[in-house]
């Protein structure tokens, strides 16, 4: 019986997630949230089902009934979040909320398996973040983010990054954490948001060429400070986001090509200048010769990915703890190992559909600043997913960024949830725009109708 049940939980979990993915792409066929509603309801049911099966796997392996309690508690929290969102913001985009909740649930399951304490801490932070994210859209709608303050956003970002750089030098470390009241805090996660504010605000105000040069200099300063902080992953993200946002703001693809060219040259320069960049590339090209030193992490990650097979070894069935820092940088490999390649690829598809939705919202909004802001968040999110998964699977060199919402790390979860909260705020602004437009249209129709009616009356009189 147990054998059948655990097999059912293993294969079933992956298949339900695949089904979930199908629905998260089907919603793109409809333009209004109203028509998408049935899909969302099915998604929520699937989500609870997936979570149930993941915890069933753990229950069967460990015989620990506490997992039932964990599952019930998390399911209630997630359901409450979704229902609250729906009630408070009838216009909110539920695909983003659903996907966000799904990724948090998967994160909870895999973190519970890897380290119970970390899972509980992560859960508390996620809970607090969700509460904040519940208020945030209303704040965005009421107070509006000011694009006039572009210089202030830039100043805050650069100052914070310099501060991190100087302090990082002082304590002689490259991975910068601050402990405030027992909670470790990674400032660079939040500077990302401020940076997108800066780029979006500054680019919407650009009128002449030298304006672009000025904004570019500001962005370049951010990137350079990050390079000197040895935070190459963040530097790459900041760089890419800038050129993509510039392309969107100016509606000219030359900027994308220019970004690509400058990017390639910068990579070559960085390779020549920095030993740690060369080391990363060497491990990427051949991790096997340094399997017990520099290549250890990547090769262990590759083992994890390759041993799981389509449906994984089951939670507690593999050995993902063999990968150093598995909860942060290599959570995806742990998922591939224990939940299988099907599950892992479906997870990627969920992340991509989230980005699609954010981009679609950006396309529809009229206000150029919010449009750019929204697109920027989408790029930051999806690029980060690409970097961390690509790095852990040796598709690209390792850059050491986390998988948003899934990896362990309070700052990362908080920052990502805030970002999606802001996007939901922008959705509300778009809904306001839409309503105004509808009213205007109705007014035009009504006046036209009156005129027509009047003409008909005139005709009849003749």
């Amino acid at each position: 019986m147990r054998v059948y049940l655990s097999e059912f939980a293993r294969v079933g979990g992956a298949l339900l997630l695949v089904l979930y993915v199908v629905f998260s792409y089907l919603v793109f066929r409809y333009r209004t949230e109203k028509k998408r509603k049935p899909f969302y309801v099915v998604q929520i049911l699937l989500m609870i089902g997936i979570q149930g099966l993941l915890f069933l796997q753990m229950l069967l392996k460990t015989n620990d009934l506490r997992y039932l309690f964990f599952f019930a508690f998390q399911a209630i929290v997630i359901l409450a979040t979704i229902i609250l969102y729906r009630v408070i913001y009838p216009d909110a985009n539920l695909l983003i909320v659903n996907n966000m909740c799904l990724l948090l649930m998967i994160s909870m399951a895999i973190l519970t398996r890897l380290s119970g304490n970390k899972a509980i801490r992560q859960f508390i932070i996620a809970l607090a973040s969700l509460v904040i994210a519940l208020i945030l859209p209303e704040l965005v709608l009421r107070f509006r983010i000011l694009s006039e303050l572009w210089w202030a956003y830039g100043l805050v970002g650069i100052t914070a990054l310099s501060f991190v750089l100087i302090l990082g030098r002082a304590i002689n470390g490259s991975n910068i954490n601050y402990s405030v009241g027992g909670v470790t805090f990674q400032p660079s996660e939040f500077i990302k948001i401020v940076y997108v504010f800066f780029v979006a605000a500054a680019l919407t105000r650009v009128e002449e060429l030298w304006h672009i040069l000025l904004v570019s200099a500001g962005a370049a300063l951010h990137v350079l400070i990050l390079v000197f902080s040895r935070d190459l992953g963040a530097a790459l993200i900041f760089f890419t986001v800038y050129f993509m946002m510039l392309t969107i703001a100016r509606d000219r693809y030359e900027y994308l090509l220019a970004g690509l060219g400058i990017g390639i040259v910068s990579c070559i320069v960085a390779y020549r200048l920095f030993a740690h960049v060369r080391a990363r590339v060497a491990v990427f090209l051949d991790p096997w010769t340094s399997i017990d030193s520099a290549g250890y992490q990547v090769t262990q990650s590759l083992f994890g990915i390759s041993v799981g097979g389509p449906f994984g070894l089951g939670l507690y069935g593999g050995n993902p703890s063999a990968i150093p820092f598995v909860e942060q940088d290599f959570i995806f490999s742990a998922i591939a190992e224990e939940l299988g390649i099907v599950f892992a690829v479906a997870l990627l598809a969920v992340c991509l559909s989230t980005a699609w939705m954010v981009f679609r919202i950006a396309e529809w909004i009229r206000d150029p600043f919010y449009r750019l802001l929204c697109a920027g968040f989408g790029i930051i999110y999806v690029f980060q997913v690409f970097l961390t998964v690509g790095g852990g699977t040796k598709f690209i060199p390792l850059t050491g960024v986390t998988l948003p919402l899934v990896s362990y790390g309070g700052s990362s979860v908080l920052a990502t949830i805030l970002m999606f909260g802001l996007v939901e705020g922008i959705v509300l602004i778009r809904a306001g725009e839409h309503k105004k437009a509808v009213e205007r249209l109705r007014a035009v129709h009504e006046s036209a109708g009156k005129r027509r009616a009047k003409r008909r009356e005139d005709d009849e009189e003749d």
Partner: protein, 486 residues
């Protein structure tokens, strides 16, 4: 486009180029798709090698769940089994001890042979879910691993091992049509039951090199057996005139600085092409070598897999024989008689012999017939007779077959003549410099029955002397066993 949307259709619109946001979306979609395909492919392609990597401690998980599977001979005799003690410890037992040491290998200390090749399957259990449930209900802690059925034959392996006796060397026996390896013996051997205990003496750097599978990893000067290759190239270059070849042997041949002698300084007198091969006349073959196009000879060597990795699933050395348009005369005559820098593995020589016997088509040699789960599902089935290449024409193969029959009936392989089956082959006595005196390895490679070849046998006996006296009788014992002659 018949895509259903709830957008009201307002007539045809001119096709707009995608917005930059859409382009960014497309870029990431392409990147994610490529990454997902890469991920699936990587995980699938590397699933076996990754699991067997010694740095991957996940093997332990499978070992805790499953009993290591059994390895069987072609007739179902167990060659390696796992025995579980009362305490639950698993021990690997090899009922035949030393006999299959190299072919089957050992499952400890990094593993070797079939134990290493098929490790991925042996530590897995692919029985059905209901079987697993049954085992769990019976209270058994482990599921039975998948079993491997090899192509090896216990009687042939035994006779080959006995024939080689206390000599160092190797014997390899293959089925010429299918490529199945029926026997593969390497000496000196070791007992795989005691690898852990004897490890330090086994890895000691001495001439014994017990762990080396001489049949596939040993590299020896092929000596006169290489004349098969030289003869093939000559027939290829002179398809009309090779029959008119004539040479007067006086026991030596000179080219440039180099002088070569016939074996034991013998003078063979007047010889034609067939006679040169039958008597294995070095001088005549050096003379033949000098008459050939060196570029073409080089291409034939490449086609016969010299200098490239042999397409087998177990470790095999790369044979070395170099010839090209710029080769010096001295090197040409050395190569023509299989001396000088020329070196090949017994496995490779067996493959060439097999190709001759198989009318010119070389097939892939293999050791594993099938992998089956404990409840009888076949997981892997090796393809019999998988063609590597047609390395020579049917006519060329027929001429070489005829010449090899002559060697047995009236040449250096006489000890195989006058039997109930007609064998064909070529001997060799490969000279090498041992420092003090001139010594030679004894070679024989051949097949039988000549009219409808079934098996190919290749024998190398290190430092024994002439192939005709030492290697041929060993091959005879193997043929006798195969054809049921007492």
């Amino acid at each position: 486009m018949t895509k259903k949307t709830d957008r009201p259709i307002r007539g045809r619109k001119p096709l707009r180029p995608p917005t930059p946001i859409a382009v960014v979306g497309i870029i990431f979609t392409v990147l994610f798709t490529a990454m997902s395909i890469y991920l699936c492919r990587y995980a699938y392609v590397n699933r076996q090698t990754m699991m067997s990597n010694s740095y991957n401690n996940r093997q332990r998980i499978l070992l805790e769940q499953n009993e290591r599977g059994t390895i069987y001979s072609r007739d179902g005799d167990a060659l390696a089994v796992s025995e579980v003690s009362e305490g639950g410890d698993e021990e690997r037992y090899y009922p035949y001890g030393e006999l299959f040491a190299h072919a089957v290998g050992y499952a400890t200390k990094g593993k070797s042979g079939i134990e290493a090749m098929e490790n991925y399957y042996l530590i897995r259990s692919d029985i059905s879910l209901s079987e697993k449930a049954r085992y769990a209900d019976e209270g058994r802690k482990k599921n039975p691993g998948n079993s491997v059925t090899t192509t090896l034959s216990v009687p042939l392996q035994e006779v080959a091992s006995k024939a080689l006796a206390a000599y160092r060397g190797a014997i390899i026996v293959t089925d010429v049509r299918t490529g199945e390896i029926l026997a593969m013996v390497s000496k000196p051997g070791f007992d795989p039951n005691h690898v852990d205990a004897e490890w330090n003496s086994l890895i000691a750097d001495d001439e014994d090199a017990e762990l080396l599978n001489r049949a596939s990893q040993g590299l020896y000067p092929p000596g006169s057996t290489f004349k098969l290759v030289t003869a093939l190239e000559y027939i290829r270059e002179y398809p009309e005139d090779y029959g008119a070849y004539h040479y007067q042997c006086n026991g030596m041949f000179k080219a440039g600085e180099e002088t070569i002698h016939c074996f034991h300084g013998e003078s063979h007198g007047s010889l034609d092409f067939y006679g040169s091969f039958q008597k294995s006349c070095n001088s005549s073959f050096a003379n033949i070598g000098m008459q050939m196009d060196r570029g073409d000879f080089g291409r034939t060597l490449t086609q016969l897999l010299f200098g490239s990795k042999l397409p087998v699933d177990f470790p095999a050395s790369v044979s070395n024989a170099v010839m090209g348009p710029d080769a010096a005369d001295g090197d040409v005559i050395q190569l023509s008689i299989g001396q000088g820098a020329t070196a090949m593995s017994p496995l490779h020589l067996n493959m060439i012999t097999q190709a001759i016997a198989n009318d010119g088509v070389m097939v892939r040699p293999y050791l594993v017939k099938s992998v089956d789960s404990a409840d009888g599902k076949t997981l892997v089935k090796e393809h019999a007779g998988e063609e590597i290449d047609r390395v020579m024409s049917e006519e060329e193969a027929a001429i070489l077959q005829e010449m090899m029959v002559l060697v047995v009936n009236g040449g250096t392989g006489r000890r195989l003549s006058g039997l109930s089956y007609q064998a064909a082959g070529k001997t060799g006595s490969a000279e090498f410099d041992s420092g003090q005196k001139e010594e030679s390895h004894a070679w024989f490679t051949g097949f039988a029955p000549a009219e409808d070849p079934a098996i190919a046998v290749t024998v190398i006996v290190e430092r024994a002397g002439g192939g005709g006296e030492y290697a041929v009788p060993m091959a005879k014992r193997v043929f006798d066993c195969y054809f049921g002659v007492e």
